[in-house]
């Protein structure tokens, strides 16, 4: 694809497309990491990885889903290597101590409502699936493709997440 002139024609559109999806990519990363600095690092790494591998993206398919999948894989690997290093600790709490204003605002908002706090406590795979379905309106099949899980697994993750949140929503009503 490179070097034959095709890349250059496509790129201005690609650039706009990527820029337009950055806020959602960042939100997805925040859903995965629950920490603003970690989410920004993840989003940055995702953008870099995606651009280097742009040839592997098939035009006509959803660019955002492809980038979400990259973010999800990068995050998986990071979590795995953190677990190996034994560095697994309360990410949100640690970062809040060093938080600058913008971050503190986001962290405060996360803690503001009981629902947000409960979302933060959900297992990551449930939280990610719920974010994609309830907020982004993705189908279970799309979620399965992004997260590398089966549709059956996605179905049960979403149901479990909603069951947990039910108690919180009904208490705050």
């Amino acid at each position: 694809m490179e070097g034959n002139g095709k890349v250059r024609r496509v790129e201005p559109r690609i650039e706009k497309e990527i820029i337009a999806l950055l806020p959602r990519l960042r939100r997805f990363a925040l859903g995965l990491t629950r920490s603003v600095p970690a989410a920004d690092d993840l989003a940055q790494a995702t953008v870099e990885r995606a651009i280097v591998n742009l040839d592997k993206w098939q035009p006509g398919t959803r660019l955002d889903s492809w980038m979400y999948r990259i973010a999800h894989n990068l995050h998986r690997n990071e979590v795995r290597s953190q677990a190996i290093r034994g560095a697994k600790h309360g990410i949100l709490q640690t970062d809040a101590e060093h938080a600058v204003d913008g971050e503190r605002a986001v962290v405060a908002r996360l803690e503001l409502s009981a629902v947000s706090a409960a979302i933060g406590r959900l297992p990551e795979d449930q939280r990610t699936a719920l974010l994609l379905v309830a907020v982004e309106g993705r189908s279970y099949r799309e979620v399965a493709e992004i997260t590398g899980a089966s549709v059956a697994a996605v179905t049960s993750r979403i149901a479990r997440a909603r069951e947990v949140l039910r108690g919180v929503v009904e208490r705050s009503d």
């Binding site: 490179e2 070097g3 890349v7 250059r8 790129e11 690609i14 650039e15 990527i18 820029i19 950055l22 806020p23 959602r24 960042r26 939100r27 925040l30 859903g31 920004d40 989003a43 940055q44 953008v47 870099e48 651009i51 280097v52 742009l54 600058v100 204003d101 913008g102 971050e103 986001v106 908002r109 996360l110 409502s113 629902v115 947000s116 979302i119 719920l130 974010l131 379905v133 309830a134 907020v135 189908s139 279970y140 179905t155 049960s156 979403i158 149901a159 909603r162 069951e163 949140l165 039910r166 929503v169 009904e170 009503d173």
Partner: protein, 216 residues
């Protein structure tokens, strides 16, 4: 809630059940108040989830993230062009590189004395930019003087807008007078979440201004 499971209801809520399952579930729902209550709760849960994630979209993304897109794509283009050039002109390019880098080394040595002064002017300019963009209205001038440099930097914000990346950005005129020598340039800077104004463009008078809204 007889044979209706939370998982079935959740999938029904998301319109993920097949036709047959859907009509079966609707029949069960008619006779099952508990299941209907759970389905209602799922609707409220989704509203709460959407609300909790909504604000994350309004926060401006870090400028570095936006810039990573452009610099990443530019690097791709350079690699593509580089490969084409090297295919037919590899040895020539290598010879030119030796000459260019040789010169560069000599210039670097000669420029070292100037570099310290340039650095001080840049630091003074940045302080004036931060102060003016954070505190001054468009049209108002902020000047900082440094006697050691015998210089004055004046920054006048001229226009303010939200960029396509949702950052507040301001255009400004930069007047620098050092040892009586006057330089005017136009700048564009955007505000990071941290409160720091990051300069994203600098141009000389007479050059074409960037289209409004483009930040990178």
């Amino acid at each position: 809630m007889g044979e209706v499971t939370a998982e079935m209801l959740s999938a029904y809520h998301d319109r993920e059940l097949g036709l047959e399952e859907t009509s079966g579930l609707r029949r069960s729902l008619a006779a099952d108040a508990e299941a209907r209550a759970l389905l209602d709760a799922f609707g409220r849960i989704d509203d709460a989830v959407r609300e909790s994630f909504a604000a994350d979209l309004d926060a401006p993304i870090p400028l570095d993230l936006a810039r990573a897109v452009r610099s990443g794509l530019a690097a791709r283009r350079r690699r593509a062009i580089g490969r084409t050039v090297l295919r037919w002109a590899g040895p020539v390019a290598a010879a030119i590189a030796v000459v260019v880098f040789g010169n560069h080394w000599v210039e670097q040595r000669a420029g070292q004395a100037l570099a310290e002064r340039e650095f001080q002017i840049a630091a003074l300019t940045d302080r004036a930019v931060q102060d003016a963009l954070e505190n001054a209205l468009s049209g108002a001038v902020v000047s900082l003087a440094d006697d050691d440099l015998s210089g004055v930097v004046s920054i006048t914000p001229t226009r303010t807008y939200r960029s396509e990346t949702k950052h507040w950005c301001r255009e400004f005129v930069e007047d620098v007078v050092i040892d009586g020598k006057h330089t005017t340039r136009f700048g564009l800077a955007c505000r990071e979440n941290t409160g720091e104004w990051r300069r994203v463009q600098t141009r000389l008078p007479g050059s074409t201004p960037p289209p409004v809204g483009t930040v990178l």
